[in-house]
């Protein structure tokens, strides 16, 4: 049975009816057309579906949508503004941190969460902060460089 939930996604209020067995990732992608959040495994192993839920980066494929009632969610679509790309996105572009791009939205959300919590992470903390986001293309080097360039 569907339940009506109220939540905030990228500063916008939503009222949505969802069934209990729908994940947050599927609701974002298929109900709200926020397809920037990717699915690379659906079992919490790859991080492509990373969103920030109430201030924490999480795998949205392992969250029930109905359990986000009242939540504040940030997705990749919420980063760029009318002024242009978010500085982290800019850094990923500039440093060549994006290849196939499928991990990029999740990687960027993990990066944002890392820097929100720790503006000046060490190299080890940067690695740790994206450890759940698999990238098969870049070997992470240029991602590290992009994140490093965004330290305060």
């Amino acid at each position: 049975m569907k339940k009506i939930i109220n939540l905030t996604i990228n500063d916008q209020a939503y009222e949505i009816a969802v069934v209990p067995n729908k994940t947050l990732a599927d609701m974002l992608r298929y109900d709200l057309n926020l397809t920037g959040t990717k699915k690379g495994c659906d079992t919490g192993d790859c991080g492509a579906c990373t969103v920030i839920l109430n201030g924490d980066a999480v795998n949205s494929c392992l969250i029930l949508a109905v359990q986000t009632d009242g939540a504040v969610i940030e997705t990749i679509e919420g980063l760029a503004t009318d002024e242009g790309l978010h500085p982290i996105q800019e850094a990923f572009v500039e440093k060549g941190a994006i290849q196939c791009g499928f991990c990029s939205p999740g990687m960027i959300m993990s990066t944002k969460n890392l820097l929100d919590k720790n503006a000046n992470p060490t190299e080890e903390e940067i690695r740790e902060g994206i450890s759940g986001n698999l990238c098969r293309c870049t070997g992470y080097q240029k991602i590290f460089e992009a994140i490093d360039s965004q330290k305060s």
């Binding site: 690379g40 290849q99 196939c100 080097q141």
Partner: protein, 787 residues
């Protein structure tokens, strides 16, 4: 040295802003009105006769729009190489691996489609199955394909020079057997597709593929359609690494479902199905004997290899040839023999993956070079330099190194890693190792026998004259090819990169064999350059006529026309242009005539200016059987140094640093070249350290997720120092050649050699799990104790 304006820079990729914002559209992001969802019924058995299939209950389920089996879609065989078309969309007589496709359903929701799949009743008669090369080649082994006796997909017997004589003349001979494990491509985006027919019977397949052209041909053949009525479009793609370089059964099933229902149908593999389908790197067993002189000169190489192929051929014929042919370089080697066997069994089929066929052979051979160097007391780098081929050399099997920065790569990693100070001076548990490798820059021949162009490109100027639209059917799969071709077009046309718009990955845009064998930069690059030059010549021809100046006396650079006669009066043209441009505020006032003006004038004279370009290699390679595999217009090459720490108590290996140098000819985009190098290191490292697909005794993949199939994470990745070595490739556009696959070649052997340096143990079986390294260390200690 030639001066370039656009290439050899670090231009931002064209696609990265879309990818950074989540706006880039991949297959599963697309939804069509009235779209149905498809699902496959796949075999739970590794080898079984299919006695009956009952779809009655499935068809009855509300929401189900079609259920198809081989009875409905026919049994036209297909595959990768026409010499081994051994697959059909759905099985006819029997299933050959766990995952073999039996039926497909289309329904109004994925949920219903999956429920319907469960309602299909199949009666099986279980057949004995074989899962290893050893079992499959036994005389009484169950036969997987009636047509291919002895479970052999293909065998290769080659000899160049006289190996026996060479070995007799050698002072030192090493024989080792090295084995890897089956890999998975583990691209982040699982395969997916959407098929739809329009009301005139034209099919559009939107698919996550590396090779729209081959998929188009396969779909047309299997559905019995004209190629012109089949359009294959590739949206953004979450990488492929070789696995997505041929049509898959889901794409074909999806087309049939769309045809049957007259609705768009979407299908996706789950991660589990990606493992089930596989088509990634084979498990190879290489036995290699190398003979050398006392001074380190290599004399002969005797090589035997078996490939654990799985249930179908896929790329297997090419793989078994590549496994042999690419050992003939980068060292001078007068005598080489190769016996290769690609064997069927009841596991998912293997195919091509980054460094196709050659990665494990390289790992085995480069390890032997270190063993020889050690025994002869020669530095491993010196041994390699001593035997290194030079630019212009041809291998014993006719591969021509038209450019070759291999020694420069060695010098670069030697200096970059501080090799001379470190080698031989590291404490127990710390080690340093190196290796070299090379790879084709595009297969010399298409997969199907044909004189086709390997790439055609069209460039059209917009009527206002400002922008060049580049149309290529090539596949941007994440490697950065769109940006590379835009840069090549800008360079060749003489305009800034911002004046280029590019569309790719669509069979309607031309012919392009796609992203495999590291071919696009060189081949599509050539066709792009050709098309841009064609456009340029048309614009300049109009100017020549208007200004009464020979074409040779003018050029286009940075968006401006350069006249030899700098005082040439072009004001009439400018007036014409400005008159054409009423109401616009960006009227040109530059001292030089702009490209915009020139191309608008050309349009007024000639109509839409369209340039076409094309490329196919000249005939390459020798006349012996199999000469087609391994030949290429050019070869990229690389050297790597790995530094490791081995925990002598647990066997855990940490890769501390990698120094990587690659000769890619002229780098079109420096950042993208480094990206390919670093990505190659990470994939090679995963294969060296912890990636392996593991099966149970019934042919099921045990680790069919990304938790248990272990990619390199951000925590594991060492610092990589990437050094781009630029030679000038005469056969490449602007001197460019490959980087995507050559760069993986040295990674595994460099790590193996470093582990030996650290722990004193040679490991002959991958991956280097802590357990395997620990066991080797224990055996070594026991041997030492006994001695």
């Amino acid at each position: 040295m030639k001066e370039f304006n656009t290439i050899r820079t670090r231009a931002n990729r064209l696609d990265s802003p879309d990818k950074a914002t989540g706006e880039a559209i991949y297959v599963d992001d697309i939804s069509k009105p009235g779209m149905l969802f498809g699902a496959l019924l796949q075999s739970p058995h590794a080898h079984a006769k299919v006695l009956s299939i009952d779809t009655t209950e499935a068809k009855k389920l509300p929401g189900v729009k079609a259920v198809l089996t081989s009875k409905d879609v026919g049994t036209i065989p297909y595959g990768v190489s026409p010499a081994r078309y051994d697959e059909t969309v759905f099985v006819t007589d029997k299933v050959r691996y766990v995952g073999d496709e039996i039926a497909a359903v289309a329904a109004t929701s994925l949920d219903i489609a999956l429920k319907a799949v469960e309602l299909i009743r199949v009666e099986y008669e279980i057949l004995p199955a074989v899962f290893t090369v050893e079992d499959a080649i036994k005389e009484d082994a169950p036969q997987i394909h009636e047509k291919y006796k002895g479970n052999l997909t293909a065998e290769v017997h080659q000899e160049f020079g006289d190996v026996e004589k060479g070995l007799k003349e050698s002072d030192i001979i090493k024989t080792t057997t090295v084995k890897n494990k089956r890999q998975d491509g583990a691209f982040l985006e699982m395969q997916g597709c959407i098929a739809e027919f329009d009301r005139r019977g034209n099919l559009t397949l939107t698919s996550g593929t590396q090779t729209p052209h081959y998929v188009q041909r396969t779909v047309a053949m299997v559905l019995g359609m004209d190629i012109g009525k089949v359009r294959v479009k590739k949206p953004y793609l979450g990488a492929g690494f070789g696995i997505k370089a041929a049509a898959n059964p889901m794409e074909l099933a999806c087309c049939f479902l769309a045809k049957e229902t007259n609705k768009p149908v979407k299908m996706n593999y789950t991660r589990e199905q990606v493992f089930m389908f596989c088509r990634a790197r084979h498990q190879f067993t290489h036995t290699i004997t190398t003979g050398a002189k006392k001074d380190g000169t290599l004399v002969a190489l005797k090589h035997e290899c078996t490939l654990d192929g799985g249930a179908y051929s896929s790329f297997g014929i090419a793989t078994v040839y590549y496994a042999g042919s690419l050992l003939a370089g980068p060292y001078k080697l007068p005598n080489m023999s190769y016996e290769g066997f690609r064997v069927y069994n009841n596991k998912p089929a293997c195919g091509a993956q980054r460094g196709h066929g050659a990665v494990i052979a390289r790992a085995a051979f480069e390890q032997q070079l270190d063993m020889i160097a050690e025994e002869l007391g020669i530095d491993p780098m010196e041994l390699r330099i001593k035997n290194m081929m030079s630019r212009g050399d041809t291998t014993c099997n006719d591969l021509n190194m038209s450019s070759f920065g291999m020694s420069e790569c060695i010098d670069a990693v030697r200096e970059g890693s501080d090799w001379d100070r470190k080698k031989g001076n590291m404490p127990i548990g710390k080690g340093i190792g190196m290796a070299c490798g090379f790879f084709v820059s595009g297969a010399g021949f298409p997969i199907y026998r044909s004189d086709t162009y390997h790439g055609t490109v069209m460039i059209k100027l917009t009527e206002d004259g400002g922008t060049a639209l580049v149309y290529t059917a090539s596949a941007e799969i994440g490697q950065g090819s769109d940006t590379a071709f835009a840069m090549i077009a800008a360079e060749a046309l003489g305009v800034p990169l911002s004046a280029i718009r590019l569309a790719s990955g669509d069979t309607d845009m031309g012919v392009d064999l796609g992203a495999y064998s590291s071919r696009q930069t060189l081949m599509t690059g050539h066709a792009t350059k050709d098309a841009a030059e064609h456009v340029k010549s048309q614009v300049l021809a109009v100017l020549a006529e208007k200004l009464d100046t020979p074409v040779e006396d003018m050029d286009i650079k940075n968006g401006f026309i350069e006249f030899k006669n700098q005082t040439l009066d072009f004001s009439e043209l400018r007036t014409t242009y400005i008159k054409e441009h009423r109401g616009w505020i960006d009227n040109p006032d530059s001292e030089k005539l702009t490209f915009n003006e020139a191309s608008r004038i050309a349009y007024l004279e000639k109509g839409t200016i369209v340039g076409t370009g094309k490329y196919k290699p000249v005939f390459l390679g020798g006349k012996y059987k199999g000469a087609a595999v391994g030949t290429s217009p050019a070869y990229g090459c690389s050297a790597q140094v790995a530094e490791v720490t081995v925990d002598m108590g647990t066997g855990q290996v940490i890769i501390d640093n990698v120094t990587d140098a690659h000769d890619c000819g002229k780098a079109i985009n420096m950042t993208s070249v480094e990206g390919q190098m670093e990505g190659s290191v990470s994939m090679g490292m995963g294969e060296a350290m912890h990636e392996e697909v593991i099966f149970d005794d019934k042919g099921n993949v045990l680790n069919n997720d990304l938790a248990e199939y272990k990619l390199v994470t951000a925590m594991d990745m060492p610092k990589v120092k990437s050094i781009v070595v630029e030679s000038d490739e005469p056969n490449g556009p602007f001197g460019a050649k490959e980087v995507g696959e050559g760069a993986i070649m040295p990674t595994i052997p460099a790590i193996l050699n470093a582990v030996y340096d650290a722990a004193g143990v040679r490991i002959y079986e991958l991956p280097l799990t802590p357990e395997r390294v620990y066991t080797a260390i224990q055996e070594y200690k026991e041997r030492k104790g006994a001695a």
